[in-house]
């Protein structure tokens, strides 16, 4: 496969389909969008199958000096591969989720989604700093339109908030990038990842990148755009927002902040820890009192993302691997949960938790899937959520037992709000006649739920499939940040084991 520009092809397929969708009627637009996303998924599978684990760090590289000042450079490592896989896996499901619920301006809607897909893949595949920025920022336009045109009641406010919040975060990053390129003399991301910026400058650069990624992630206290955007976006919009867009923040940390500014990352680790701890506890408590299903899941996303950030800034392999798995798992699980909400929203057109109840009676299959994803969100062993959270928290425990302690409460609180949600929706009495009359999953919904369920179980039972491609890259990153690694607070010391016979003698002497 060497030499074949598969990454460009993956960018091109949705882009061409997006342009075509603009000129199509509703029905062919749907079909074309589905076909394009499926083709892209196939290409993703081919990409994964041809990815040489243990081979070169950057594979499938393409480089053309098309523009002044920066080049069209693509290439992926294991981390990018996994995130691209997540994107192409979720996209056909998103199209499926909007099959019937989107009735107005279908062509434009599908075009916006396909454009999103191109940009997401571009973000993860870009190997040029400015190219990355262009893809990263360009995502604002289609997402703004998706929320604003097809969203719920307060969609206008939510779309503005989403756009301006994320824009403000990113523009500062652009200035930092300009400075970095001026200093290092290259826009090549792999080169920059090995470049040692002066420690004093790193502080500012790190803060500028943090401004962008923290908003995107989102971290407390700049997370407030997320619940609004999630609640107002159409189901598929929420899936893609939670599933992939939030991962861009984490990807940014792992690709830029950590390897490019290791000293500054260590210097500001306390800030990340503090914000993450607050986020875990605070947003979990907020999630507990929500009446709106989507809002509840949105807040749970903030809590899960906080687990990602503490894992990233644990500065060890365990934490980093954990963070990656949490990101992938959260992409699947939160996407699935939004989908589950979408399924019943399509039937009853309300997200109010109180309007449902006893769904396990009339929708047993739906309740089963919902249960699976609820458990995965809680982090039940055997589901994907467990693996990531365990590794992340294990990683942070080596650095700070207090942070680990506080963040682990998130798991307990997570169990509380998710189970509470599940009980109110699926169990109990059928309080409302209209909710009780809802039919169970349709074939289309099965087709969306089953792959997600299988992926969640796969990642939970055999995470090695997903960890293997990333292992070498995470080890490289770990080696890169090793010089700035903070001292752990456990102060573990190798104990002096007593010789066996002495211990015996002491034992005898006691008698």
């Amino acid at each position: 496969m060497s030499g074949f520009p598969i990454l460009s092809l993956m960018l091109l397929v949705p882009l061409v389909a997006a342009i075509a969708c603009l000129f199509l009627e509703a029905k062919p637009a749907r079909a074309l969008a589905l076909a394009a996303t499926l083709v892209d998924f196939m290409l993703g599978v081919v990409l994964w199958a041809n990815y040489d684990i243990g081979g070169a760090q950057w594979q499938f590289t393409e480089r053309t000096a098309l523009f002044a000042g920066f080049s069209y450079a693509l290439g992926i490592d294991g981390i990018a591969l996994m995130l691209i896989m997540l994107s192409v896996f979720l996209m056909p499901i998103c199209i499926g989720a909007s099959w019937t619920s989107i009735e107005k301006r279908v062509g434009e809607y599908m075009a916006a989604f396909l454009l999103m897909e191109t940009l997401m893949i571009g973000v993860f595949a870009a190997q040029d700093l400015y190219l990355f920025y262009i893809f990263f920022e360009a995502g604002l336009i289609p997402m703004y339109l998706i929320i604003g045109i097809w969203g719920g009641q307060d969609r206008i406010y939510a779309s503005y908030k989403f756009f301006l919040y994320t824009l403000l975060g990113s523009v500062l990053m652009l200035i930092a990038m300009l400075w970095m390129v001026n200093e290092a003399g290259t826009t090549d991301i792999p080169t920059l990842m090995a470049y040692d910026f002066p420690a004093k400058a790193q502080t500012w650069l790190w803060l500028a990148f943090f401004a962008s990624f923290a908003v995107k992630m989102p971290m407390w206290p700049v997370h407030t755009w997320l619940p609004d955007a999630h609640v107002q976006a159409p189901t598929a919009g929420s899936v893609i927002l939670a599933g992939v867009l939030l991962k861009m923040g984490g990807y940014g940390f792992i690709r830029f902040s950590l390897p490019m500014f290791p000293e500054a990352s260590a210097q500001f680790a306390w800030l990340v820890f503090a914000l993450s701890m607050i986020a875990v506890v605070y947003t979990s408590l907020v999630a507990l009192v929500q009446h709106d299903m989507k809002k509840l899941i949105a807040y749970s996303s903030v809590a899960h993302m906080a687990i990602v950030t503490i894992g990233l800034f644990a500065f060890n392999t365990q934490g980093l691997e954990g963070s990656m798995i949490v990101m992938l798992s959260h992409g699947l699980v939160s996407g699935a949960l939004f989908l589950a909400v979408g399924v019943i929203y399509d039937r009853l057109h309300t997200r109010e938790i109180d309007r449902y109840g006893g769904l396990s009676i009339n929708m047993p299959h739906y309740a089963l899937f919902f249960m699976l994803f609820t458990m995965a969100s809680i982090g039940l062993p055997g589901t994907s959520g467990f693996v990531g959270e365990f590794l992340s928290l294990g990683g942070i425990y080596q650095v700070s037992s207090w942070v680990a302690l506080v963040c682990t409460t998130g798991i307990i609180l997570g169990a509380a709000y998710m189970l509470y949600l599940y009980r109110r929706v699926a169990f109990g009495e059928q309080k409302h006649a209209d909710a009780a009359a809802m039919p169970d999953l349709s074939l289309r919904e099965y087709l969306m739920m089953i792959p997600l369920g299988l992926a969640v179980l796969w990642m939970g039972v055999y995470p090695e499939s997903f960890l293997a491609p990333m292992r070498a890259d995470i080890a490289a990153l770990d080696a890169r940040v090793a010089r700035a690694r903070p001292e752990g607070d456990a102060k573990l010391a190798m104990g002096k084991g007593k010789p066996a016979h002495e211990a015996e003698a002491a034992h005898e002497g006691a008698h």
Binding site: F67, Y144, I156, L164, V171, L172, L178
Partner: protein
Amino acid sequence: MDWLQSLRLIAPEETLSIAGLVLLLVAAWGGDKAARLISVASVAALVGAAFLVMPALCGGAMGPDAQAFGDQYRADAFASFAKLLIYGAAAASLVIAPAFFDRLRAMRAEYPLLILFAALGMGMMVSASNLLTLYIGLELNSLASYVLAAFLRSDDRSAEAGLKYFVLGSLASGILLFGISLTYGFTGTTSFEGIRVALEGGLSHGALFGIVFMLAGLAFKISAVPFHMWTPDVYEGAPTPVTTFFATAPKVAALALTMRVALDAFGPQSDAWRQIVIFASLASIVVGALGAIGQANIKRLMAYSSINNVGFMLIGLAAATPAGASAMLVYLTIYVAMSLGGFIAILMLKDEAGEPVEAIAQIAGLSRTRPGLAAALAMVMFSLAGIPPLFGFWGKFVVFQAAVQAGLVPLAAIGIAASVIGAFYYLKVVKIMYFDEPADVVKGRSDWAHQALLVLATVFISPLGYLLTKWLGGLADVAASALFLAA
């Protein structure tokens, strides 16, 4: 320098002058019936002049070879770059005019002539290397512009715009002239070269005042804060094709002139004027952005947008480096395309009777009634806001890059953060067109010339524009280096 050589160097100006004078006679005898013919001839003259300036740009002309009449006038690569933009914008303003004026029966023969003379004046502005050439060019352009603003004689708003522009413009000319006289008095020369040499030794208080007053006068012409007050009123009142012209060609001319004055004549004392430029830049960005938010008229909104954009371009000037000058030229090129696209789209907003629609509220839901037009306008808006992957981002990008390279990181950071405020009102237009229920007012048919130009401008500001970055950047680099010969 012999006269023949000088006369050859000013060939574009000669072409425009002769064409203008001949067409004036045609207008005198032919009357308004000849307006269309004169328009076509004027466009031809502009295109011809554009071809005449091209060799200087492609050949990178600069230095003594490009000086005419004892260095009163320079036909160097920098002037040629600016002239190409000016002639292009002027020609576009001519092409789009008939469809607008015909309906009002106001397509008079003077319109193409005034544009032609304004273009001639602007060509002299950007080529000026002497304070007197500068002033002659500026006034030639300004006088033509005042009349153009008031071109719809029977329309109150147009007359008001012309009067306002005239009164405030004369005031600014006076300020500029005062600055010129101070500069002359304290440096003893009117030639840019002489001023540069005189300032290399040091800056006297008198010369500093000269710089301040000259920059104030020029700030008026480029509508930078705090001399921007005329812009919204004139843009709103002037007939839309004229507004299109104002937003593009004179902007290029005045900015290019400012660049030459600041970087060439006052080049040795860049620290003295940098703080003025930085203030004007940040103030323009912020005032332009905040002022636009409350606007209900789309032409006024574009006026504030132009103030905002000038602020960004001034960041490149503050850098005072060849990279900064080159970045400004790239930004100007993209800005001209965005403005043309924006105003042509506005020209195409017509109701059933063909009356122009200017209220932003009336374009609600445009994306459903006229999807193509709405998409073009949305692209212009996102591009003006500088959101990648649209080409408007590239203009901001190179300007900020130059500022960072010049060590002006705080300025770049504040400027770019303030650009987020600007994004708000561009988003508002997109929101009204895409999210709101259709008002269904825009129904008029569009002229083919408008459509063709709009498509052209939209393709240019689309991501395809990035393919031009190398070529555009190369030309701008050559052009900018002409300003830094002595440095």
